[in-house]
Amino acid sequence: MIKPYKLKSHVCRFCTFFQAGDEKIPEALLKTENQKPDLEGFAYPLPSKKSDYTCYAKTGEIEWYGASNGLTRYDANAEREEDIVMYFSAPRDLLDNNVKAIMPDGENVWVLTDTGAAYIEMRLVDAEEKADILLEETLKYVDRRGMVSQKRLFEGRNLESIKPYGHSDNDGTFTGNFAFGEMFRYATFKREKGEEHPDTVKARAVATRAVEACLLLLHIHSRGDGFAARTYLCADEPVPDDGLFLRITDGKATCLKTTDSEKRGVTGTVIDASAPVPERLAKLYTEKGYTINDIIYKADTSSDEITHHFINLLTAHEILGDDSELDEIIVSSTKKLMMHIIDHGYELHDFTGKPTTWAKWSTSYFNTEFGWVDGTLNSAQLLMYLLVTMKVTGEEGIWREHYDRLINELGYADRAEKHFDRLYQASLSMGFDYFEDIMYGDHMLATLAYYGICTLEKDEKLLAKYRKGYKAWRTSIEREHNPGYDLLYAVACPDEEVDLDRHAEWFYRTNASRLAAGVSLVGRHDVPVKKLRAGAEEISTLLPPDERFISKYDRNPYDLKNEDSGGIMCVESCYVYTLAYWFGRYHGFFE
């Protein structure tokens, strides 16, 4: 029985920036001469060296210290330990880090730095309100015909200068995560407010659109054989030189020239593209005035997308399945996708007639150098796909035959247990610390794959095996204290404890915008740096989300120098927050 954790309203930072010379910068700030703070005997670690602090100001009971590498906020009465000392740095909170003056303005502060000023407000925001703010930002600025990954800006920090186009290599994956969270938002509202409530109606519309965007990727290629596109562009969007793209024209798809297509010798390959796209899904582009002949889709799809598709097919079937038209598409899409994988020897086959680079779940792949390590996750994935297919279609038959064969003849369930052993051995043989050898995007894939098999499998023996396999992933996932991973784990393995208080920190300290502005980590005086065996550098403590780089569920949050996805020129989707929040709320972890 889960005891819900009460998430309270919490201060959240909102920063407004003014370049030097901007008339909006108060004259008084320019004339402010702060005292140097007396930090002798200060009881907490400070982000800057004590002697580097040059200015000091007070807003109520809160003290602010400025240094050459950022701004420190000290709240001696903060309820939570991590809120006692907060760090503000460029470019997320400041234009640059050399703080020259601090001027209180009620509870807020003006901060003067070399290149301008920042006005920092600390507003109380509750967890749901933050989810709403983030969702609104995503729908307004990031959405691209229902797909939500990230968008670039023409002008730094200015969301209004958003570029109208811009795909992500993993649109299917990221949109899948978004859809997953929004479905649980709808389900929560439905339970709490009733089906007819305007919030519920709106939430359903958002969730449905996201699910449709994902489903569209299963049909947009018009191959009719259960393939899945990575993403797609419309005719007026530039085609990046990044992967394999096929343009659809009059029932045929032709591979466009890119570095990758040339390298593989497939430029100009023409394949059939005559299968119709379900009208309900096609409206995502037709309502924007495009037709199928305007579509350029991206091939070489990975297991990442397929895993997200299956979990979304399952979730959508369960939560939105009362929409019979949609459910029919879900059921038929599931069957086709699964059949494709079975028909191609547990691989996803591209237009080339060969498997894509990463969507391989066959034992022949597992016997390769790379596949030996990958095989543990991919085994769990394929088992999940089959369990989902049985659940969504309500049929067993061939799906069950293959499921049993994978377990009894090909050792998939056994292999799914061995993640950590194989990862560790591979990293040892290469002279790595195993944290250096992790593809951090695999953490979400593993979470979804094992969540799927652990919640769908009813056989106690197999379930024990799957849970053991899931636990093997926790060696690297657990330290992230990411509720997006941990809450799914808690549902899949109810006997395991997760730290909801650490998750509260995560919700409280996530910024209310996904502008990907970075932070200054190098040179923090209060954060030790650790060099790993192969040279990667990690920090020794997990910082609150508002003091570390912005990322999706695909990076190592301990990295010292991880790059933001686009800095102040980019805005990310909100799913990182909304998935965790709404899944947790729906399952009663939070109130």
Binding site: G41, F42, A43, Y44, P45, L46, K49, K50, E81, E369, W372, K418, D421, R422, Y424, Q425, A426, L428, S429, G431, T475, R479, H525, D526, V527, P528, V529, K530, K531, R533, S540, T541, L542
Partner: protein
């Protein structure tokens, strides 16, 4: 399939066992010379050898030979393994000792050979604590070779090659030698090679063949090497000269799915954790003293002109590390060798004493203890610092622990009143001194000292008429055989001398569930010194007879019940001391033991279902079944039982390492009187000397608690029991530092400072080692102004972390090797 059999040419070298160290040193020189010659003679031969201390001997005594070895190492013909000073016992050294084993050795190897050891290698050590994977990883080693216990002793541990995990999440790829670390002679070779070949076939992976005369050194003989060459030509083409490093590298590349072991590896020689109490006591004392003295040297050198003593501490630790060799610390060497050990440990502790004293006095000099008028003209007696009657004398109490400690401390004069730095009276008691001089009285007072800090107390002499006599009462009372304070009530048994009742006054919990502190004598006639093939000491031959039980003290600060027992020609005197604010009972023991082939055990019993015993091990704790097997432990063992409302009793000791726990009774093994180096009890008729005969002085404590051991705070109580407050009487002087100060702040109780030292590279950087003690992952904030540092760090459960702090206070997380050497 990789069917290779890797020939590991080696010579097991015991520097002390049935011989003294001087002979061991000679054995090393001869073996190294012989190995160099064999490498020259036999193409492809590789020699594997552990223990940095051996290399250092050779370097000092035969530099030419050492130079030859250096060249061979560079060519890969000679492979140093085990980046530790010796092959130590792997149960009794503290976590910090394992850190020092790695630190001094790996830096030595790096300096001399340009590389560190990749493989841990303790082929003869008698058992392996559950935290070793972490302790090895932190010293730069990812692979491990061990042999004991054998399959006949513990068949649950995987055979051959497996992953070994410690609770913090560390792991080492481990090879368990199946037969012998030193196969030699045609007969043995013929017997073992086919067995290894069979294992290769069954496992699908290569195996190692440990080959060469050992124990007293030796290495591969010409005859055996020639025979191996013959075999290689004749059906054993899979034999190849190799090293453990090479073996593990090949196994990793082979992508094997191996079994995993996530527990300790016990038991082989269960008697080794209690035999020869003297060496155990010296080890415990030296470990704590050196670690604490080095902390004070670091603090003091940071705030004064006191020189850093890194080199001195290195010399001292190297002595301690050497004496942790498995046949030494395990108490199974010859009697004469322990005279050498006593000298060696004395040298180490003299360094600790010197450096600690210098550091504390340097700190004390800066504390403002001045009292106006104290230099006014007075009689010579009054001017005598200890008998100044007009003014209280300042005593600065130092706390080496990283958490605040409140505990009694002793000074060697009686007092009339004691005050703290704020002028508040504190509890004290004038107690019997060890001397027969003057008043016969010492002062014991209650000091409360901040983390890694000091506090000044003012002691008015007993004869002073310039102050009122203290009237503070600590709430201690005694009636008949019962003593109590505000926390617990203890009733002694007039028949047995044991404890009849121990009750928590907070909730009425009774902790005595059976036999409790009744000294029990157990038969030790069958086991040899190691107790080969014997895992339980369960043949009770009697209880010690109670001679007297009497209340000898009951004052403001403490009550003392003295219990005397006898057995044969032996006696045991125990002072059960209950302090005013104490939740445990401290027991000072004096034993004269003269009973051959006996064991003395001290039991505590807790009533209730589902008993679980818990023990401190290096860098952590472990839970073991209550099956009566003799178990190694560090400073504490615990028995906890009951349903939902569980309760337990821990025994803390300052010198002991061995317990057993049959059912609900936990028994501290106080001494074990075996014949020195009695191997398989092959005893000719002789007038033997016994390893635990004579006088023993040590302390233990009994700590009752509710809930599980690891949640009871036992880790900190046991640490403070072994790292006691130090009272330093000082003079009156002006100073810049306050009367009370802490040099570190750690905001989580389960993070403990293990080491605070200067980096070995002479840079002046400071090294701080911290460990998580309660098995609970945590994020901690550490502030240390003397190092200008304040930082956060995440700890996994039972994780040890080492931080290096530069002169600007910036922090790098390193490992035992301090960032001087990287893997």
């Amino acid at each position: 399939m990789n069917n290779k059999i890797h020939i590991i040419s080696n010579a097991h070298l015991d520097p002390i066992w049935l011989w003294r160290w001087q002979e061991g040193c000679g054995e090393v020189l001869q073996t190294f010379r012989s190995a160099v010659e064999r490498i020259k003679e036999y193409k492809g031969m590789i020699f594997t050898c552990s223990s940095a201390s051996y290399y250092k001997w050779v370097e000092e005594i035969d530099p030419e030979l050492f130079e030859e070895i250096r060249k061979l190492v560079k060519k890969g013909k000679w492979v140093p393994v085990n980046g530790w000073w010796v092959q130590p016992d792997c149960n009794m050294p503290s976590a910090e000792s394992f850190a020092r084993q790695a630190l001094y050795s790996q830096l030595y190897y790096y300096e001399k050979f340009g590389e560190i050891c990749k493989t841990g290698y303790n082929v003869d050590s008698f058992g392996h604590n559950a935290m070793l994977p972490q302790l090895l990883n932190n010293g730069g080693m990812r692979c491990y070779v061990m042999m004991r216990p054998g399959m006949n002793e513990n068949s649950e541990i995987p055979e051959n090659l497996f992953w070994w995990d410690s609770p913090d999440g560390s792991r080492v790829l481990t090879y368990r030698i199946p037969y012998s670390y030193g196969v030699n002679g045609k007969g043995d070779i013929d017997r073992e090679l086919p067995l290894l070949k069979e294992r290769v076939k069954n496992t699908g992976h290569g195996m190692m063949f440990f080959f060469g005369v050992g124990n007293h050194g030796g290495g591969p003989t010409k005859g055996d090497l020639d025979y191996i060459l013959e075999l290689k030509k004749d059906g054993y083409e899979e034999l190849e000269y190799s090293s453990p490093d090479e073996y593990f590298s090949e196994m990793c590349a082979d992508r094997l799915d191996l079994p995993t072991w996530s527990d300790e590896m016990q038991h082989h020689a269960s008697g080794c954790y209690s035999a020869t109490s003297m060496v155990k006591q010296l080890n415990r004392k030296a470990e704590y003293w050196l670690a604490n003295a080095e902390k004070w040297n670091t603090v003091s050198a940071k705030i004064s002109d006191l020189p850093k003593a890194t080199e001195e501490f290195g010399k001292a630790w190297q002595e301690v590390c050497f004496n942790q060799f498995h046949d030494i610390l395990c108490g199974c060497s010859i009697m004469e060798a322990y005279e050498d050990v006593r000298d060696s440990m004395g040298y180490a502790m003299k360094i600790a004493a010197n450096e600690e004293n210098k550091a504390m006095l340097k700190i004390a000099q800066q504390v403002d203890t001045w009292l106006d008028g104290v230099t006014d003209a007075q009689s010579s007696i009054a001017r005598h610092h200890c008998r100044n009657l007009k003014f209280p004398r300042p005593v600065i109490v130092f706390n080496p622990n990283s958490f605040e400690v409140e505990a009694p401390v002793r000074t060697y004069h009686p007092s009339r009143k004691v005050e703290d730095s704020e002028g508040n009276e504190v509890l004290f008691q004038n107690v019997r001194s060890s001397r027969s001089n003057d008043s016969h009285l010492d002062t014991v007072f209650n000091a409360k000292v901040p983390a890694l800090g000091y506090a000044t107390y003012w002691l008015w002499h007993e004869d002073s008429e310039f102050t009122e006599r203290s009237t503070l009462d600590g709430g201690i009372s005694a009636e008949g055989l019962t003593v109590e304070n505000k926390h617990i009530k203890v009733e002694f048994d007039g028949e047995t001398g044991g404890i009849k009742s121990l009750v928590s006054k907070a909730d009425g919990t009774e902790f005595v569930g059976g036999e409790f502190c009744v000294p029990t004598v157990v038969d030790n006639s069958q086991p040899d010194t190691w107790a080969h093939n014997i895992f339980k000491f369960d043949k009770t031959i009697g209880k010690m007879s109670l001679k007297s039980v009497e209340l000898v003290e009951c004052g403001a600060l403490r009550a003392v019940m003295r219990v005397k027992h006898t057995y044969g020609g032996s006696y045991l005197t125990q002072d059960f001391i209950l302090g005013a604010d104490s939740k445990n009972i401290r027991v000072k023991c004096r034993v004269l033991w003269q009973e051959p082939l006996t064991i003395l055990k001290m039991p505590v019993t807790v009533e209730g279902e589902n008993p679980v015993s818990t023990y401190e091990i290096p860098a952590g704790f472990i839970k073991r079944p209550c099956n009566g097997e003799e178990e190694p432990a560090l400073t504490w063992g615990d028995i906890t039982a009951g349903g939902e409302n569980r309760k337990g009793v821990a025994i803390i000791s300052d010198a002991k390492y061995s317990y057993d726990c049959p059912g609900n009774t936990l028994r501290l093994t106080m001494l074990r009187n075996s014949i020195f180096a009695d191997h398989y009890s092959d005893r000719p008729d002789a007038d033997f000397s016994y390893c635990d005969e004579g006088i023993h002085r040590f302390e233990y404590a009994v700590y009752p608690h509710v809930g599980e051991a690891e949640d009871s705070g036992i880790q900190r109580i046991a640490a403070a029991f072994n790292s006691k407050l130090v009272a330093v009487p000082v003079s009156y002087h002006k100073g810049t530092m306050p009367l009370k100060k802490s040099f570190i702040s750690i905001n989580k109780p389960n993070i403990r400072l293990e080491a605070f030292k200067f980096c070995e590279d002479g840079s002046g950087d400071v090294v701080m080692r911290l460990c998580e003690t309660d098995g609970k992952p945590v994020k901690a904030a550490i502030v240390c102004d003397v190092a200008e540092a304040g930082f956060y760090a995440d700890f996994r459960k039972l994780e040890v972390k080492t931080f290096r702090i530069n002169s600007e206070g910036y922090v790098t997380e390193t490992n035992y090797l301090e960032g001087i050497v990287e893997e």
